[in-house]
């Protein structure tokens, strides 16, 4: 005798199932079609040799501090995220020093993109006191939308001036970076990206304004000095 169950498996016609499969396969094809392939940049610039050891009034010196890392994790993550990293310290003849960190990546994707300093510093035990927007007017290119941070850990305060360039834009936060990558990605473009970060350790937050000013001068000179060799790596093209 057959056991009667209350549940009756519905009839699914071959016509319907074919339509479902067709829609699914169409989605797979559409995904392939929409995958961005146009790289805006084809080669990774050799920043180690391009960034001069001396420019304007600034000259590279031996690093007195270990700089705060460029990711929320360790070095493995940095090599996964960035194609090129430069970390140096520069000083002028007055004895002002600025730490420079540049991280360049040829491809920016939703899951692999530049880590922002406000996240990295906090992940590495710093407290974030302030983040303010600061437009830097660089004579040789269009204004750069930069950010200023004041952070501290138990040993020191640090002032940070940085920008993140993704393609031709300077997104001010993680969300606008994502939207930028998504918008251009749907047009088929794979954007490159760079983090340019200048930082100074200070003992008293009262000195922050002075430090930011020095960093801004430093960054303007850096961009001006490297503009002929790499017109659109540190900054977006005019």
């Amino acid at each position: 005798m057959m056991k009667i169950s209350m549940f009756i498996f519905p009839q699914i016609t071959q016509r319907k199932s074919l339509l479902v499969a067709a829609i699914l396969i169409l989605a797979a094809l559409l995904a392939v079609k929409l995958t961005p392939t146009m790289h805006t940049v084809n080669t990774t610039p050799d920043l180690d040799s391009i960034i001069p050891v001396e420019f304007g009034e600034w000259r590279q010196i031996a690093d007195p501090y270990t700089q705060v890392g460029l990711t929320t994790g360790g070095n493995d993550l940095a090599s996964q995220l960035y194609d090129k990293v430069v970390m140096r310290t520069y000083a002028n003849k007055n004895g002002d020093s600025v730490m420079l960190a540049i991280a360049y990546a040829r491809e920016q994707k939703q899951d692999i993109k530049i880590h922002r300093p406000e996240v990295c510093y906090v992940a590495q035990g710093f407290k974030l006191f302030s983040k303010t927007n600061n437009i830097i007017n660089v004579p040789v290119t269009k204004p750069v939308n930069a950010q200023r941070l004041l952070v501290s850990n138990q040993n020191r305060y640090e002032t940070v001036s940085y920008w993140v360039r993704i393609g031709d834009d300077y997104p001010a936060n993680g969300m606008s970076a994502r939207l930028k990558i998504l918008r251009d990605g749907l047009k088929g473009k794979v954007l490159d990206g760079v983090l340019v970060r200048a930082s100074t350790a200070i003992s008293d937050p009262a000195g922050a304004a002075e430090a930011y000013k020095k960093q801004e001068e430093f960054l303007i000179e850096l961009v001006t000095a490297t503009k002929p060799a790499i017109p659109n790596v540190l900054v977006a093209e005019k």
Partner: protein, 286 residues
């Protein structure tokens, strides 16, 4: 029951999701932050099966809802195409939930979809959240876990110090990473806990609510346990041993600790509610 239509649909699903799962298993699911992914996926599959078996004995009528199913299917497919092409996992993996829901609606109807609601909900925990979202939400949890771990180790007379989420023990330093305090592990544990309750089918709603709330401190406690175990392994056997532990066992260890705590707390709650009920029965009889 003709098999061919089912196989046709299965083929469509495989074409769409085999590449996704290939990427998940070879990429993000291998990272500490998302290591729970495959566990959640396996449990979700089992849960679908479990619910399907129950379905046979229920009186839920099958009233296909194609008018609802087709649009949902199209939405799922668009999500998939955008997510897959722009490497937005939240859309790409999330679309699986939408597509499965669409197929259920289309062929079985709203009643059956409701019967499976928890399975669909549980499947959402498999979707990898963007790292930036995890970073923002896990920061307070990481801080709290670091703080508690440092203090407990200090009470046990170990040479510890802490700077933010970095714990120093002896000559070593440990960064309390997302994996050690992850929102994802909290979410996943909450999901596992809810699943446990769903399967155990407790009568007492009070006990369910209590248990669901207690999962947060349980998750916290298991995270602290994991960090302390990791710190001690590093302290006694060196950095390499600690790292080895991180990459091989610590995720499992976390889940085992949490699961045991959940079962332990649940048994305790059952014991207490049992006692209370007995007492009230006695009171009524007396």
């Amino acid at each position: 029951m003709p098999l061919l239509p089912l196989l046709t649909i299965l083929l469509g699903l495989l074409v769409v999701y085999v590449p996704t799962f290939y990427d998940l298993f070879h990429g993000i699911w291998k990272t500490d932050q998302q290591a729970h992914g495959p566990i959640v996926f396996a449990v979700a599959l089992w849960f679908f099966y479990y619910k399907a078996k129950l379905l046979v004995s229920t009186r839920i009528p099958v009233i296909p809802a194609p008018k609802l199913g087709w649009p949902v299917l199209v939405i799922g497919c668009v999500l998939y195409a955008i997510g897959r092409s722009q490497s937005l996992y939240i859309f790409e993996v999330g679309s699986l939930v939408v597509v499965l829901l669409a197929l259920t609606l289309m062929f079985f109807g709203v009643g059956v979809a409701k019967h499976f609601w928890f399975a669909f909900f549980f499947l959402c925990f498999m979707v990898p959240l963007p790292p930036s979202v995890i970073d923002i939400i896990t920061q307070p949890m990481k801080m709290a876990v670091s703080y508690a771990s440092e203090h407990l180790l200090y009470q046990m007379d170990y040479p510890v110090a802490r700077n933010g989420v970095i714990i120093y023990i002896g000559q070593y330093q440990l960064l309390v990473a997302d994996a050690c305090a992850g929102l994802n592990s909290l979410f996943t544990l909450e999901a596992l806990g809810l699943l446990y309750m769903n399967v155990m089918r407790h009568e007492s709603p009070m006990r369910n609510v209590l248990l669901a709330t207690l999962i947060v401190p349980i998750s916290f406690a298991s995270n602290v346990t994991r960090v302390i175990v990791l710190a001690l392994i590093t302290f006694y056997w060196g950095d390499e041993a600690g790292q080895g532990f991180v990459h091989q066992f610590s995720g499992m260890f976390l889940f085992m600790t949490a699961l045991m705590l959940i079962i332990g707390v649940d048994s305790l709650l059952r014991y207490i509610t049992g006692k209370l009920e007995k007492r009230s029965v006695v009171a009524i009889q007396g």
